[in-house]
Symmetry: C2
Subunit: 466 residues, 2 copies
């Protein structure tokens, strides 16, 4: 009976080759093959770790004749014994007792040859790019961070809530949305000359969510500590290296929590998340540090080890105005901070992450709690070096009368928010929450330049392939 497949990660993480007793079986895809003196060296990868496993196929192996047919991209199975490698570049290797070619990859046609490909080229091959070092590493780091997020909140007693994707409400009161419809666009039912929304699946127009916040507030007002982690959507025609039409967002929401408590949660969360990825993905991060961003690991370690600074928006504006810097965008109280301002604050003013609080109400959403000054709201942004804002959040307005006034000022109709207002009518409580864009955070943790290389199959204007 053949040995069960062992993951390459598990083999390579052995202390000594002798710890792995008896023959093992590995399966994966061929990265490279070279022959020297009647011995073939086949590098195979199974995605479990960045490192390839070297399989040594000697002329005495009964399957040695297969070696000529092995090319990059083939899938293979090899049985053999783990032993210390005599060659450079790897600690262990397998000496093949048998070898099987499972699936070929015609070298005339297989698009991923040994040479380095551009990220742009690989974006067109999103079905094959996970087999490359870069995208394998992105997948592993992304996985580690996703699970690290769940672990952080679960260990702290937060409940994971799945808020709806299809919704009739819009958390931001703005932001272009996708409509989800079953209407036949070539045969639209009409009512009084306009589209008959009553004939649509939900009997009304429905959209893809831009945020689970409002629904998470519902659960916070019953379960106290909750978080969401799911896909969100923006139908904006943005073709940048930082925008996706479909991305995942993490949104904790905490009852009986004020802005100070939220700032502490955000700091604990980010430091824990970057510590977690440093601990669980050292090889992948070393790879990114080497090939994509020489300061990556240092930056992540700095964040994991820093106390975050706090300052108010008003203090931030004063610091920017006193900086003597010439910014592209003018700094004045009442205007939103631009990326250049955020980076100055975190990189040069304080030299570590900074949490800016209490922004002018005029530039923030209606649901943020109004301060007693009547001009600022209990909002926060967490700014980190190199990118600026990574988290945005707020204490929510829990006072019914103030919330209704703010909605009226924002030109919002009460009616669709009847349930949101009910939360303030019945057992209202201070509560607060933030949002973290998952892909932007993985982008930050990997040093990748383009967010389209962080998500498996990016959705952007004119692009929904795969």
């Amino acid at each position: 009976m053949p040995a069960q497949r062992t993951r390459i990660k598990d083999l390579l993480s052995a202390e000594n080759s002798g710890d792995v007793t008896g023959p093992v079986n590995v399966k994966g895809w061929v990265k490279t093959v070279r022959s020297s003196g009647g011995v073939a060296f086949v590098q195979i990868n199974d995605g479990s770790t960045l490192a390839d496993l070297q399989v040594v196929v000697g002329a005495d192996c009964p399957d040695y004749s297969l070696v000529n047919g092995l090319t990059t991209g083939c899938s293979v199975s090899a049985d053999g014994v783990l032993q210390d490698s005599l060659g450079r570049g790897q600690k262990f290797e397998i000496v093949a007792a048998s070898l099987e070619l499972i699936g070929g990859a015609d070298p005339e046609e297989y698009p991923l040859q040994k040479k380095r490909h551009t990220l742009e080229f690989l974006r067109e091959l999103a079905h094959l790019r996970p087999r490359t070092n870069t995208f394998g590493a992105v997948a592993r780091v992304r996985n580690a961070m996703a699970f690290g997020i769940h672990k952080f909140f679960q260990e702290r007693g937060f409940l994971y809530i799945q808020t709806p994707i299809i919704t009739a409400s819009d958390a931001e009161g703005a932001g272009a949305m996708f409509r989800a419809t079953t209407l036949d666009l070539n045969n639209l039912p009409l009512a009084e000359g306009l589209v008959d929304n009553d004939a649509d699946f939900f009997g009304r127009p429905a959209f893809l969510t831009v945020s689970g916040q409002l629904e998470a507030e519902i659960f916070a007002q019953a379960m106290s500590d909750v978080y969401t982690f799911g896909p969100t959507f923006r139908a904006e025609n943005s073709n940048t290296s930082r925008h996706l039409a479909e991305f995942w967002m993490v949104e904790p929401e905490v009852a009986f929590c004020d802005l100070d408590g939220l700032a502490q949660l955000a700091e604990d969360f980010l430091r824990n998340l970057f510590s977690h990825v440093l601990e669980t993905c050292p090889e992948d991060l070393a790879f990114f540090n080497r090939f994509y961003d020489k300061e990556l690991v240092q930056t992540l370690e700095d964040i994991a080890n820093s106390d975050f600074e706090r300052m108010t928006y008003t203090e931030a504006v004063a610091a920017l105005q006193a900086s003597g810097e010439s910014f592209e965008y003018p700094v004045e109280w009442g205007a939103d901070l631009q990326s250049e301002h955020e980076r100055y604050l975190t990189e040069r003013k304080v030299g570590r992450p900074v949490i800016v609080t209490d922004y002018p109400s005029s530039i923030k959403a209606f649901y943020m709690r109004l301060n007693d000054d009547g001009e600022t709201v209990r909002a926060l942004d967490v700014l980190v070096p190199r990118i600026g804002e990574i988290i945005g959040g707020s204490q929510r307005e829990e006072r019914l009368d103030v919330l209704q006034r703010r909605m009226a000022e924002a030109g919002l109709d009460d009616a669709p928010y009847w349930w949101y207002l009910d939360l303030r009518r019945y057992g209202t409580a201070p509560h607060a929450g933030f949002g973290l864009g998952f892909e932007r955070t993985v982008q930050f943790a990997t040093g990748m330049q383009n967010i389209r290389d962080i998500i498996a199959f990016p959705r952007t204007p004119r692009n929904a392939e795969f």
Copy 2:
């Protein structure tokens, strides 16, 4: 300085009241208030656990006068010392040193009064129902199962992959889909008399995914062991207690895995998942067992402790035909098994879960691996008592020529599947995966009759509220 909020779950899980030293602070929502002999007993719940905490407010408490204003649904904060309860029904209670009313709930208006409400009534109040015992318990069980799923796969070295929600492909080759569009339905751009899809956001029609399987296969063919866990959609006009238009699905996909390996994974997964919920949610399950399904815990324990039976579809048909039962739907080779057949097999024929394999190709999807008999495919369904099918999966067709022939027979055009076929052109390998409907599984684990009570905000025909 006031004590930090302590979760009621943490207080009630103490061995002895004396283990919790000093004053504590609890915050939550009032369930009931009763007074007796100048002492008020306030039951409060914070969602962390099913049990309420009894707060005893004596006449000597400086905030005793607040008690008259406390009604069901109010949010409160209480400081005091944990002590053994003299009354019946609880082990511990808090004797209030101080009490604060945070948010009122007018008893004339608050819809959730002390009396029992029907689930149908509560469905209209999905923003308040998490405050009830039943929906709080559903939220906790759902959370435990979601994290249990992640934990199971992470501990086994699977990578969590987020497959796209918006897609141009359709895994089932069938199934009604929602279109995601930014076109203005009242001002549709036309090209040659039909809707101009080129003007839509993605430059083509795009839809909400019915399954992440095909994209998960991409990642399995690079990372070996992966799983998805995310929302999926069906635009079917089904108004039943088992159907949602938006639901979450778990889909592992494993390279170098055949149907036997998949069956073992499915068995390990289900047994682990039900063990996990039994271990982590004993109080909530006891609640469901008491009020919703007297055999619930026994059923879950049986599954957690059973070896699952295996039989082929052909054997299953023979067993059904030999059963002497009169079924509503006739049993004949080539017809799909109905729920009544599945339940007979698992409940009466074998008395434990059963994995049925090798279904007729004519009733299964094109991507399932064809057996050498040319008539059956390497599909499996896992059947469990009380509901029948809980998991469906298959070994996938990894042979390019067979897959193309099966697609042609199914009337599918090759072109949109170019990348799916590429996986068979370059380093193809046997692989297999299954899908588990998350809500149906939570429904099973709670004994709830209607799936609309399992998801926070159900989406069904004509219903997208909240």
